[in-house]
């Protein structure tokens, strides 16, 4: 696969997510204007942070007059999962030059991570520069749509009827990201354990239950793979 083929394949593989990104970012634009931000402020947040869930969290806490430090730490806790994405991308993209790695870090959203890692695992022979091209292909649509529809939402204002239940686009997006990753028994068990742990740890403040649940799920998946491997070794030495 050449660089340009990889780029366009990433573009195609990530394209379906614009059906989610468009309404979600538009919703942020609307909610931000409702909260009293001007268009420049709304866009600055979307461009500087480019992480929907934490933007909504920060906005909600600002509206409740929470201290800046609390709003900051809570919103950062929501983004802590991306440290795990960052680690998971090291084996694939770590060899890229520092400047590119910084740009890829800025663009690291859930969709790019999930779609890219899945493709990298399916094609272990892909050279680093091809993997990098694929990654940028994934973000080529998502990022402009994120900015553009935030702006449309901020300008159009309250045109979105609440009857559309757009809030539900968020979990649907994460389900769509998860489903193709469930490729073996340990993966399925890790996902189930993580879901149960997320329920068990909802009481933990600052959305840290998410990180606890994800860590437990990851450990269980890895241990189960080791266990199955050892058992297979014993059966067929």
């Amino acid at each position: 696969m050449t660089k340009s083929q990889a780029f366009w394949r990433g573009f195609r593989d990530c394209a379906p997510f614009i059906i989610i990104v468009a309404p979600y970012s538009m919703l942020f634009g609307v909610v931000a204007r409702d909260a009293g931000l001007d268009v420049l402020q709304t866009m600055s947040m979307a461009v500087l942070v480019i992480a929907g869930a934490s933007q909504f969290t920060a906005l909600a806490l600002l509206q409740e007059n929470a201290p800046v430090i609390i709003a900051l730490l809570t919103a950062l806790a929501v983004n802590l999962r991306m440290a795990m994405y960052s680690a998971a991308l090291v084996p694939h993209l770590g060899h890229a030059p520092l400047g590119l790695r910084a740009l890829m870090a800025y663009l690291m959203v859930d969709q790019a991570f999930a779609v890219a890692v899945r493709t990298y695992e399916d094609n272990p022979a892909m050279p680093t520069h091809v993997k990098v091209a694929y990654y940028f292909g994934c973000m080529m649509l998502i990022c402009p749509f994120w900015y553009g529809f935030t702006l449309i939402g901020a300008l159009v204002g309250q045109a979105l009827p609440s009857g559309l239940s757009l809030d539900f686009a968020v979990p649907v997006c994460f389900i769509a990201l998860l489903a193709p990753l469930l490729r073996s028994l340990p993966h399925i068990v890790a996902a189930l354990v993580s879901a149960l742990a997320a329920v068990a740890f909802t009481w933990v403040p600052w959305s840290l239950g998410l990180i606890i649940a994800a860590t437990i799920g990851m450990l269980v998946g890895a241990q189960m793979e080791l266990f199955l491997r050892r058992r297979a070794d014993r059966v067929a030495p």
Partner: protein
């Protein structure tokens, strides 16, 4: 009303902090080889993060005041099935489509 100072302070710090979280391992570890036991764990990050993100949103949606909503539960199941046996786009359409369908049947829209 959100004051300008508060807003810009929070937004700039959140932007920097979020970038540092994203840059962390990819930026600092670079091309270093990771031990096999670490690689083994990294493979499970995706399947461990996404269920933890969506499970509470599906069970206790804010739009229904945090109460479980049958329409959303059914829609989530439809999205998962469509994602497992179909495609990303299938999962998205099945999820939102099923939500609207059940809401329509129950007279919510």
């Amino acid at each position: 009303m959100i004051s300008d100072t508060t807003f810009w302070l929070l937004t700039v710090l959140l932007g920097i902090g979020t970038f540092l979280i994203r840059f962390s391992f990819l930026g600092l570890l670079g091309g270093r080889e990771l031990p096999p036991v670490v690689l083994l764990h990294l493979k499970y990050i995706g399947v461990a993060v996404f269920p933890a993100l969506f499970t509470p949103l599906v069970l206790w949606p804010e739009a229904t005041g945090g109460n479980p909503d049958p329409a959303r539960l059914i829609a989530a199941a439809a999205a998962l099935l469509a994602g497992l046996y179909g495609s990303v786009i299938g999962a998205i359409i099945a999820g939102m489509g099923m939500l609207y369908f059940v809401q329509f049947l129950t007279g919510q829209i």
